[in-house]
Symmetry: C2
Subunit: 394 residues, 2 copies
């Protein structure tokens, strides 16, 4: 056989796997250490009651001959869930047709698999620093990657450079890892640029539920012109704590077409119905419950809880005179590390304070000198971590 | 943007979508018709009690702070499930390491996504007739496809033609759509050929649970030499009725390496941890329960029920003097259609007897002249369908 040689171009192991390895090594050597995990962006609050009761009911339905469900025939999500998502968007003033919503097992899958519908030699414009899966999936695909620089100068929110063109543009707002959020005016620059150059924006809205500032956009489709140039990829992982349940959705507007009139919605549906077979009925009923009035209210309590954690971490850093971004409208806190070497600081934080963060360098070369902490821990652990940070000597 | 032009090479729409469209059109015109669906291979028996109680428990765990689970860290399946699958294989005398089992949301996803680890210009050897997703995923990928002919002559079980070489070989046994099952001796020919030519066998074992003849192999790893040339892709859809729950697994032996020593297991794990984020914890607990003694006994009752249906359909065909294959060791019945045109017969069966079958031509040019019926219906509907078939005038 001949293998995909692009895999050999991947940088060592996936960031979070590398972190897990280092943490496991430390734990083996120091079995009694109480390690506080503020690294990987995994939630800790249990699923909300509305979701639990919907899934309990769905499990029982699957056990009865009259209510059992097999394949989700369309393969793109049950109508009840697509309708609930459409209403969620309508409530924020965005019109999205039910047929434009394709339900999946999560944003990570969709972000990787969506490359199937683009040409192999596509040029991808990717921010640096960035969620590493954008880069790894493009490397695997053999795409050419052009990085756009995030830095203190632009607040880690790069805007279009008209001297550069690309086929696909990755935007993540609220941003992982920096917590920065694009304004509507900034996103308008991207939409105009994409429409002018014929590029597609892949808008990763996984953290949209953390936006509390009403002036900030939570969907690319709040921006005029986005329906001819953007795909939005979203997840219930952060909105509803579905990291272990697995459900997301991708929105491809009907108007989004190539220069020769090919519908990207049709291509994505074809991809999904050929290489995917839908999401668990039980999961889809749980997801539907997320978007009910009770479900959203319960989920928003959890988000407020996490934003409370973010404030505790932020205040601890401020007390040390360390500036940070994020923490508001985002579960991530992004700060400059003492010493400037983010993996070295990661190691010191692990060994000296038993706190796991994520080294900024893991998100790209512009992430060097920074560290990401997440607000997804328990209140108790977050307070402990803040107390340990305050004892920081540098 | 530039799109993947290979999508334009796909034949019209995915087979089952085309069938669904025709059935829906008929239903719109004939709202009172009682349509019996023996087309798509979807199960109808509810999930077994062992699975239901395991999933109920898992749902409740997800609602408690102390028992909640987020990401499945490895992304390749919880140890409890990989251990259960490993034991399932051990019980049939096959040794598969837990680390060689990668849990997924189903065989269809894995069969499509596995192409990511092979070179884009791979040559795929695919039987005709065959499950259409093999072909469509390779077309999307731009691979070159060489068909191997299934026919009455070889019992729809092609064996290696040493004048042909390929990178990837698809085998499906028990076969979809023909119900034919390879013997150990026949699979040995394939394993030897693959080892000699450096090809990889993708062995689709989705229907293994239907094999009741103990002399027939249910895993490619029953065959000597398979660990250096084969990947097995399996699913709980047919074993345990998980079509609407979504769980499968792929086994890549540690010894399977390219000529230059690259491990396919490492590549597949890298693919999955980068473009996939694991399977629902609730689903994985349900899957674990499938492999318990009680779960397997309950699932096997359902399989016996479906095999009983197969006998009813087979007997009806025999009574009409129509020869068929499958139905034993397989949920599929594959028979020669009166008139020879399988889409025309599909239409007549739909209109005249309100039975939905799957036209053989949908599975490849060698399927023309045949029809596939499935045994996955209810006993009541199967008996009705058999009675209607017996009134067949041609």
């Amino acid at each position: 056989m001949r293998l995909n040689s692009h895999f050999l171009e991947l940088k060592d192991s996936y960031l979070f796997k590398r972190i897990a390895q280092q943490v496991n090594e430390y734990k083996t050597e120091n079995p009694d250490a109480e390690i506080l995990r503020l690294g990987i962006g995994d939630v800790t609050r249990p699923l909300v009651p509305a979701v639990i009761s919907a899934m309990e009911k769905a499990v029982l339905e699957m056990g009865g001959a009259a209510t059992f469900r097999g394949y989700d025939d369309a393969g793109t999500g049950y109508g009840f869930l697509r309708s609930a998502v459409s209403k969620y968007y309508a409530d924020k003033g965005v019109t999205v047709g039910e047929d434009e919503i394709i339900v999946s097992d999560g944003a990570k899958s969709d972000l990787g698999n969506i490359l199937d519908i683009f040409a192999d030699d596509s040029v991808a414009l990717i921010p640096d620093p960035v969620y590493p899966a954008y880069v790894d999936t493009n490397v695997m695909n053999g795409s050419r990657i052009i990085y756009m620089n995030g830095s203190e100068v632009n607040g880690f929110l790069p805007t279009p450079d008209k001297s550069v063109t690309a086929d696909v543009i990755y935007l993540c707002s609220p941003n992982n890892p920096t917590g920065a959020v694009y304004t509507k005016a900034q996103l308008q620059l991207w939409v105009d640029y994409a429409n002018e150059t014929g590029a597609v924006i892949l808008f990763d809205a996984a953290y949209e539920a953390f936006v509390t500032d009403k002036s900030l956009p939570t969907s690319i489709f709040e921006i005029g012109g986005a329906r001819t140039c953007a795909i939005e990829i979203c997840s219930l992982s952060k909105l509803a704590g579905f990291t272990g349940v697995r459900c997301g959705y991708t929105i491809v507007p009907a108007e989004l077409k190539s220069a020769d009139g090919i519908s990207l919605l049709a291509l994505w549906k074809r991809r999904q119905t050929t290489k995917f077979n839908g999401v668990s009925y039980i999961t889809q009923r749980g997801a539907e419950a997320v978007f009910s009035a009770a479900g959203l209210a319960q989920c928003r309590e959890n988000i407020a809880y996490y934003l409370g954690n973010a404030k505790i971490i932020g205040d601890a850093l401020s007390g040390l005179g360390i500036g940070y971004r994020g923490g508001e409208n985002s579960p991530y806190i992004w700060f400059t590390v003492p010493g400037g070497d983010s993996w070295a600081y990661f190691g010191r934080l692990l060994r000296e304070r038993n706190i796991v963060g994520t080294p900024g360098a893991g998100f790209g070369s512009n992430g060097e000198g920074y560290m990401r902490l997440t607000a997804f821990g328990s209140r108790e652990n977050t307070e402990k971590a803040a107390a340990r940070l305050k004892t920081q000597s540098g």
